[in-house]
């Protein structure tokens, strides 16, 4: 059973990190419901652990990525945590006009295509950097040398820009 102090730490961490983790997974997968499930499952596992690991943010990313790979490979999502009301929260953006939807869809598609053309490591670096994770957490989550994270982030941004601006030019 978790102690009261752990519960408080968990709540504080959840409030700081849940949306970051969700947004990272959402951008990575393009599947908001899957991202919400995986982010919640990662926090559930953290709560069941009963204590915070040394680097909770990096731990959450690693667990979420393992879950994400698991789900993507099997597509057997054994637990759907979102109630129908919450599900509306994920996908319930106000409906745009058809014209707005078409423009937004085209712009989003271009960004998605550029992101998908990046090598896996650059994509994850770029998205973790965009969420403001510390270099230490990024290094731990991606098993990279912390001393070169800044340079790698700059390269990932440049590669993304190249893909975005010239879709025919692979990185």
């Amino acid at each position: 059973m978790a102690t009261a102090s752990f519960h408080d730490q968990f709540v504080a961490l959840f409030e700081r990190q849940f949306q970051k983790l969700y947004r990272y997974l959402d951008r990575l997968s393009g599947e908001p419901e899957l991202a919400a499930d995986v982010a919640q499952e990662a926090f559930i596992r953290l709560y069941r652990r009963g204590s915070l690991p040394d680097a909770p943010e990096a731990w959450l990313i690693s667990v979420a990525m393992n879950l994400f790979r698991n789900v993507k490979s099997s597509r057997s999502r054994r637990r759907w945590l979102l109630t129908p009301a919450r599900s509306e929260g994920v996908l319930g953006d106000p409906p745009p006009s058809p014209e707005q939807a078409a423009i937004a869809g085209e712009a989003r598609g271009k960004v998605r295509a550029a992101l998908d053309r990046l090598p896996e490591r650059e994509r994850r670096l770029l998205l973790l950097g965009a969420e403001g994770y510390s270099y230490r957490d990024i290094a731990a989550a991606l098993e990279l040398n912390e001393a070169s994270i800044g340079t790698l982030l700059a390269r990932a941004r440049r590669a993304f820009r190249e893909c975005y601006e010239d879709p025919s030019d692979a990185p």
């Binding site: 919400a36 709560y47 069941r48 698991n70 319930g92 989003r108 270099y135 994270i149 700059a154």
Partner: protein, 241 residues
């Protein structure tokens, strides 16, 4: 000497830099490096604005809801009843087996209730299992589980799981455990215990070694070990020298 790219990025992101005083001093006096820092900030802001186009509204959930999902679910009364029936059935089968120690135990308990003798202590094989201790870690791409000592009589029972963490459990006090992203070390010196190891099916490569000698390898879907897969899908690996 101008700032290198790592220094520019670290300044932009508020990350620590080596020798921050001289870096700040250089930046104050070097227009070119200040322009590079500004340009990097603008570039990043533009890229992040593009990425925001992918965003959906986050789910409306909170820590309390997630914590309540994490608590064990109490089985419904029907499940309790089914469990009790199952136990009763198993006890009946165990009693009926010829030579079952359960018969003698039941007789002695009946005699004790009748006042003739005290109930016997359960035989060693019937004692409740010892309390367990262990460790769990999220495995990196090449993860090694090491038992520091070969021990006669010691075993590792290995199974593949749908979880995300490698876990090792053994009787309380049988070993001490340490881990990092790439390895998990079990100091099992002097213990002939059996350790339960769970390895995620999704883990890319996990090795188990005893004093440096490999006894088990899971490399993606492939498992390499001298031990045969047992009923229940686990492998019983001796930790003997």
């Amino acid at each position: 000497m101008h700032l290198d790219q790592e220094q520019v990025q670290r300044l932009m992101h508020g990350e620590p830099v080596a020798d921050p005083h001289s870096v700040r001093q250089h930046l104050a006096s070097c227009t070119e490096c200040r322009e590079r820092l500004d340009a990097a900030g603008r570039d990043e802001a533009e890229v992040f604005a593009l990425l925001r186009q992918l965003d959906h509204r986050p789910p409306a959930t909170d820590a309390a809801a997630v914590a309540s999902q994490a608590r064990p679910i109490r089985p419904a009364w029907g499940q309790w009843a089914a469990g009790i029936l199952l136990l009763a059935g198993a006890a009946g089968v165990a009693y009926a087996v010829p030579g079952s120690p359960l018969r003698d135990w039941v007789r002695s308990v009946a005699a004790w209730i009748g006042g003739s003798e005290r109930p016997p202590a359960p035989a060693p094989g019937q004692t409740p299992g010892p309390a367990l201790a262990g460790i769990a870690a999220v495995p990196g791409p090449e993860f090694v589980i090491t038992f520091k000592s070969p021990e006669s009589g010691g075993h590792a029972r290995v199974s593949l799981s749908d979880g995300a963490e490698v876990s090792v459990r053994g009787p309380l006090g049988a070993a001490s455990y340490t881990s990092d992203a790439n390895r998990l070390v079990i100091d099992n010196q002097g213990s002939g215990a059996t350790f339960e190891i769970e390895i995620p099916r999704t883990a890319a490569r996990v090795e188990i070694r005893v004093a440096g000698k490999r006894i088990f390898l899971k490399d993606r879907a492939r498992v390499v070990t001298n031990a045969a897969e047992e009923i229940g899908g686990h492998y019983l690996l001796p930790l003997s020298p």
